[in-house]
């Protein structure tokens, strides 16, 4: 029985190989015929469309697809095709899906991957295939340090958030006494250290908690915050712990403000804390509020998808348009497109984009906003924080 299966599978594999080779041949034939108008190419979205973290991925994909639809409407034809690849946001799933993507030789550029974890898993495959990527949301600092030539990100990395949070605490909240804590993660501790350094003597005490899911009783931290007389607590960590800490702080009668990075920018914080306790909590994000995007993007997006543009929808829209500009300029291979990205200076609806040698957004273009939890658990845009690079 097992042998029969094995033969059947190997037979299928052979058929697949032959078909694949045939597909390659036919696609190279198309490339020659598509000389007029630079049509017949594909741009890809790579990221979560299903799974527990799909919300952010769908925001990005819809912004991306909107840009290509508008381009095609202007051309009056289905010039550029949208290709979607669902990674589920999972580093374990991403590589297999990435290999499917690189097999399609008509794809000139990728918008994604949205998350840092799947980026680490999939970006080496795109690098090997030479297909450029623009991530609208993967912010782990180390991603740019891999020497990948095809890696670009259209937002600031995590290093920009610490100074922004510190500036907000000092200038807007005008806090004289600040308590700083973190969850000992690379992200959380890094963020907290920058805040501590920037605020200096205003930091009256600090502590470290266990990571998300490793601690639920925060009595001791809460007591330290209360005793320190701090009016602001900065927490470097993720939304689940932050929600619990906020709830237990409120239960202990502390009336100060909790501030954190984009790891806390999630409805889960309000869910854990309850809206009544979460209200007023401030989170920073290296993103602009989507409703502030320029042009007719906000209304176009709503008309096309029936929902408001979400976090990073605008950046994905811009990223797609950068590729489309590249195609218009005659960059019809992935290699040429990648070279094009290194010289691009594109003014989009959310920001202006220029990439450094490592693929980072040019430091002069970094934008960081603060968001505030409102009484219904939503994170509402508060203000843009100027960070001096």
């Amino acid at each position: 029985m097992r042998q029969v299966f094995a033969r059947a599978i190997s037979g299928l594999a052979v058929i697949g190989l032959v078909a694949g080779a045939a597909a390659c041949n036919s696609s190279s034939g198309d490339d020659d015929s598509a000389s007029g108008g630079n049509c017949g190419y594909k741009l890809a979205y790579f990221g979560a469309l299903t799974g527990s973290s799909a919300n952010l991925g769908v925001n990005i994909e819809q912004g991306f697809e909107l840009a290509i639809n508008q381009y095609n409407e202007k051309k009056g034809s289905d010039c550029i095709t949208v290709a979607k690849f669902d990674s589920q946001g999972e580093p374990a799933v991403a590589p297999g899906v990435a290999r499917q993507l690189v097999a399609d030789k008509k794809i000139l550029g990728i918008v994604g991957p949205p998350f840092s974890g799947e980026s680490e898993a999939a970006d080496p495959i795109f690098e090997e295939a030479g297909i450029p990527t623009i991530s609208p949301s993967a912010t782990r600092v180390s991603l740019a340090a891999n020497g990948w030539k095809t890696f670009h990100r259209a937002v600031a990395n995590d290093d920009s958030q610490g100074p922004a949070a510190a500036a907000y605490i000092k200038d807007t909240l005008k806090a004289a006494k600040v308590f700083v804590a973190d969850d000992q993660s690379a992200y959380g501790a890094g963020l907290a250290d920058i805040v501590k350094k920037t605020l200096g003597s205003a930091v009256v005490n600090s502590d470290k908690t266990e990571a998300d899911g490793k601690q639920t009783d925060f009595s001791a931290v809460v007591q330290k915050v209360v005793s320190s007389g701090a009016t602001v607590m900065f927490y470097g960590g993720y939304y689940q712990n932050a929600g619990l800490i906020r709830k237990q702080l409120t239960a202990a009668g502390w009336k100060g403000t909790l501030v954190g990075g984009d790891g806390m920018k999630d409805a889960g914080l309000a869910k854990a804390a309850g809206n009544a306790a979460a209200v007023g909590t401030i989170v920073t994000c290296p993103c602009s509020p989507p409703e502030k995007a320029g042009g007719t993007f906000v209304t176009d997006y709503k008309a096309k998808w029936g929902v408001d543009a979400g976090t990073y929808s605008d950046v994905a829209f811009d990223a797609a348009n950068i590729y489309l500009q590249g195609i218009d300029a005659g960059n019809t291979t992935a290699e040429k497109m990648n070279t094009f990205l290194s010289t691009v200076n594109y003014q989009g609806i959310a920001n202006t984009y220029k990439f450094t040698e490592t693929g980072e957004l040019d430091p002069s273009l970094i934008k960081v906003w603060t968001f505030k939890f409102d009484a219904t658990g939503n994170q509402v845009a508060d203000q843009e924080v100027k960070v001096t690079p």
Partner: protein, 316 residues
């Protein structure tokens, strides 16, 4: 090391530690009771607690209560609390009986070695916790604000709240009732008899299987109460909540002397308070490490725990 901070916060750290310790103590009873009778650690006890912590939330959910609800009137709160306690006790008790029926009884019939019980218990524990994880998509479930913490009295900077008093008093009362039950009642005498010598007890007409089921059931009931108190104090539960607190409860049981009811209470309260002191002195990141160092030190001096192993043995 932050000695001045510890001294300054000594009062508040003590009271919050006692409240956490009381929950740990109620949880620890399940480990201690089963060990006292079977000489086995029931590692599935953490999931007995877990299901209890969800049961009361489900019941409160039927009444439309969630984390954003307003705190109901006093009478309604008492009603909801009782209802939540009943739900948690029933679910935890049934889970404990189920674990005994599925993971222990068949093996006992076949005279399996102790290691087999350990593995089936861990298996049952993982199965329940992972199932809850999949059903809840590993998301947290938040608790309605049934009790708004309010100061009942203040000594210095130590604010004693209504919730802390409720938790500590409830734990002490349950412990007292259970102690009376084990030491004075007919069924309790049966438990002590089986704990002392199963074979003699059987010869004297004690139904061993029933005693074992009873012990699992009592542990489950106490875990159910602990689960409701945990929900109210912490504010959320999730699929691995039982595992985290279970380790602490097991530690408390060993600290006080596993198999010893009063030891579980003492161990739980001590662990809760000492964890808080350690967090105050060394920083919260040392909370778990410090308490385990202490456990090792105490076991070096008293290998059977502070009060020794005795379910019935000492006061038989």
């Amino acid at each position: 090391m932050d000695f001045s901070g510890l001294i300054q916060d000594f009062g508040p750290l003590t009271i919050t530690g006692l409240a956490q310790g009381a929950i740990i103590a109620l949880f620890a009873l399940g480990y201690t009771l089963v060990y006292g009778v079977l000489r086995l650690i029931n590692f599935a006890h953490s999931e007995v607690f877990l299901l209890g912590s969800y049961a009361c939330l489900v019941v409160w959910g039927f009444f439309g209560l969630d984390q954003n609800s307003a705190t109901p009137s006093v009478i309604a709160v008492i009603g909801f609390l009782l209802l939540g306690l009943v739900a948690a006790i029933v679910v935890s008790g049934l889970t404990a009986l189920g674990v005994e029926l599925v993971a222990y009884r068949p093996l006992r019939r076949r005279n399996a070695p102790p290691l087999a019980f350990l593995i089936t218990a861990i298996g049952a524990s993982l199965f329940i916790s992972e199932t809850v994880g999949v059903i809840t998509q590993r998301n947290i479930k938040a608790v309605p604000p049934l009790i708004r913490p309010a100061d009942v009295f203040v000594i210095g900077n130590m604010h004693v709240t209504n919730l802390q008093i409720l938790i500590i008093v409830l734990a002490l009362v349950m412990m007292f009732v259970l102690d009376r039950f084990i030491n004075r009642s007919r069924l309790g005498r049966g438990i002590r008899a089986v704990a002392q010598n199963p074979d003699s007890a059987a010869l004297m007409g004690v139904n061993k299987s029933r005693v074992i089921a009873l012990v699992f059931l009592i542990g489950g009931l106490m875990a159910g109460i602990a689960a409701v108190m945990y929900d109210l104090k912490i504010g959320v539960t999730r699929f691995d909540a039982g595992f985290l607190l279970g380790i602490e409860a097991f530690t408390a049981a060993v600290l006080g002397g596993i198999g010893n009811l009063r030891g579980a209470l003492l161990g739980g309260l001590l662990l809760g308070v000492l964890q808080n002191y350690a967090a105050g002195l060394f920083g919260t990141q040392w909370l778990h490490a410090a308490s385990f160092v202490l456990l090792v030190l105490i076991l070096l001096v008293r290998p059977t725990g502070l009060l020794g192993e005795s379910l019935g043995r000492a006061r038989a």
